[in-house]
Symmetry: C2
Subunit: 112 residues, 2 copies
């Protein structure tokens, strides 16, 4: 998977995963890896800053939980976050359609 291909789409993924219910950072990583069949194997240094950014933007909120000595920061979508997720999904659709329609008209490299 291309190094840069995620740029601008990570927020969508994190918001989507969060929309299924409260989840902590490490869990986000696991869930993305599972659901993408291993295509998205994100570093912690990738995911945590995203969560912080989304929270600063008011799209997520968190509460701490403690289970068997393990503290977890459980994130949940705010109403603003849900709205943003809807926008992001629409943007994703538009983006995919745009790329596909460019690819469609230039089907495959002509062997000269």
């Amino acid at each position: 998977m291309n190094a840069e291909s995620l740029k601008g789409h990570l927020d969508l993924l994190v918001l989507a995963v969060t929309s299924a219910g409260p989840i902590h950072g490490y869990g986000v990583i696991e869930r993305l890896r599972e659901r993408s069949q291993g295509s998205f194997d994100l570093a912690e240094g990738t995911v945590y800053p995203v969560l912080h950014r989304l929270e600063r933007a008011g799209l997520l909120e968190h509460e701490w939980s403690e289970a068997s000595g393990r503290r977890r920061k459980l994130y949940r979508l705010t109403p603003a976050g849900q709205a943003r997720l809807v926008e992001q999904r629409a943007g994703w659709r538009e983006f995919v359609d745009a790329v596909e329609s460019v690819l469609r008209r230039n089907p495959w490299p002509q062997t000269a």
Copy 2:
């Protein structure tokens, strides 16, 4: 359209557009705008550096043409560029599938 969403996918688009036959930088911009129904309205400062980078990488080559006092730099895919295009297409497919499968399992924000 998201500001960053193109990152990592621009090469694919430019290679695809170039695969249809020799084309100059300005033409790449126009063709992408047309074929994406206006979704991709790229700045020259976006496209020219990409063309230069792709050429440095051996994926494109150019020749100058002169028509009615207008000089154009016509780019063409090299064999390596064609191979790269095939790879990039596959990568794009994988990327879309991965994102979609994340989105599929988290259908829409639950109105809690």
